[in-house]
């Protein structure tokens, strides 16, 4: 059914595109805001991704790949927004919707969330995107690599580095892992 909508949208049927976009815009926004941690930037990225999708949809060869293609567009738009934000040098923390992190004592949850926010903010947008695609969408490394346009090995190393840095944020600062990541400084 969606594939027929994609074909119709690619032939200029704006109603078909509207239906496809409404089904997906929440997920695209959820991806963008997790990468960018900024509501306004996330909206800009999703808007750019969907307008580009409408413009370029006639060139999408396989309608079944719509979702992966939209993920790619929103990740690319997030890269741009991330670069723009670095120039503005602002870091905005999301309003937490979850009160505690599993496996951690309640009293530590807020401190740990703040530590994760800071560690995530220190990552590049490219590293954040891999973490979000893996942990939020549950995608495998090959699919992530295709979406972000890098070899699978690069996607793996980005995920490894990013997760190591996030783990360290939850560990005592004098732990061996924290020292190793601090030294690697990649």
């Amino acid at each position: 059914m969606d594939e027929e909508l994609v074909r119709r949208a690619a032939r200029g049927d704006a109603d078909a595109f509207d239906a496809l976009a409404r089904d997906r815009i929440d997920r695209l926004f959820a991806i963008a805001i997790r990468i960018l941690r900024d509501h306004h930037d996330a909206e800009d990225a999703v808007q750019q991704a969907l307008w580009t999708a409408w413009s370029d949809l006639p060139g999408l060869r396989d309608p079944a790949r719509l979702d992966a293609w939209l993920y790619r567009l929103v990740v690319r738009a997030s890269y741009k927004a991330g670069r723009s934000r670095r120039r503005r040098a602002s870091v905005v923390q999301l309003a937490p919707e979850m009160d505690e992190l599993p496996g951690l004592a309640d009293t530590d949850a807020i401190t740990d969330r703040d530590a994760l926010e800071r560690a995530f903010a220190s990552l590049s947008t490219e590293h954040r995107a891999v973490v979000v695609l893996h942990h939020y969408l549950g995608l495998g490394l090959d699919e992530i690599a295709a979406i972000v346009g890098v070899p699978a090995g690069t996607a793996r190393s980005r995920l490894h580095y990013a997760l190591q840095k996030l783990r360290v944020a939850l560990e005592p600062s004098d732990s061996p892992t924290a020292a190793a990541v601090a030294e690697s400084g990649r």
Binding site: A10, R11, G12, A14, F17, D18, A21, R22, I25, D26, L28, F29, A30, I33, R34, H39, E43, D44, V46, Q47, Q48, L50, W51, T52, W54, S55, D56, L57, P58, G59, R61, A77, K80, A81, S84, L94, P96, E97, M98, L101, P102, G103, L104, D112, R113, L116, V131, V132, H135, Y136, L163, L166, R167, L170, E171
Partner: protein, 229 residues
């Protein structure tokens, strides 16, 4: 559960937490303008619409290209003692500087070199068109300049439909496409032809369409486009 697994679960839970829904206002702001935006035309779609098999046409095109290249090569000959072969440089993409004064799209915008859509064309009758989409903030521009426009800037034969940031505007005082009643907008356009580049300068005063699509604040538009060729 190992310590690393426990930490990974905590990281995963943190990534999954957070907003899941875009605001209804944002959804409407994003989707409402789309019916008025143009799509890039794929040659595949054009061929499918014409009922032609894409693979066969592509193959025939390739054969013709090879034959033309071969004939051209034979006509040039071995080139002993002749002038060195020259190559035609690939034309660069159009560039522009857009200044919108007033309204929700107020700001200065320039062409993003990585944009997915950026083409400038001159028709046989001397008219020009520019299609562009890209950048942050996002700009979607559909510009047409009528034939017979010179360097003096005395012509109003220009039409523009523009999304720039949160702004939307359109003007077409000469009625090249229609939809702009007399007196709603004013515009002046000049076209300067150079050896390698053509510069199009546009100034206009027009209402901003706003997010509702109805005319709102009056804005000034100043646009300079440089087209290769």
């Amino acid at each position: 559960m190992t310590e690393q697994r426990r930490l990974d679960d905590a990281v995963g839970a943190w990534v999954r937490s957070g907003p899941e829904l875009a605001s209804a206002d944002f959804v409407e702001r994003t989707l409402r303008p789309i019916p008025r935006m143009r799509q890039r035309r794929s040659w595949r779609i054009a061929l499918e619409r014409a009922g032609l098999p894409v693979v066969a046409v592509a193959g025939a095109t390739a054969v013709v290209a090879v034959l033309v290249a071969g004939v051209g090569f034979m006509a040039i000959g071995p080139g002993v003692g002749g002038p060195a072969p020259t190559t035609t440089p690939t034309p660069s993409r159009p560039t522009f500087e857009l200044r919108v004064i007033g309204g929700p799209g107020d700001g200065v915008y320039t062409a993003d070199p990585t944009s997915s859509l950026n083409s400038c064309r001159r028709a046989d009758n001397g008219s020009w068109s520019l299609l562009y989409a890209g950048g942050t903030p996002f700009v979607n521009m559909d510009l047409v300049v009528g034939s017979g426009v010179d360097e003096t800037g005395s012509s109003n034969r220009v039409g523009l439909e523009l999304y720039a940031g949160a702004g939307y505007l359109r003007f077409d005082p000469a009625g090249l496409r229609g939809g702009d009643p007399p007196g709603r907008s004013s515009a002046a356009v000049a076209v300067r032809d150079g050896p390698d580049l053509t510069t199009i300068e546009v100034s206009a005063v027009t209402p901003d369409g706003g997010s509702s699509g109805s005319d709102e604040a009056t804005v000034e538009v100043h646009l300079t486009v440089t087209c290769p060729g």
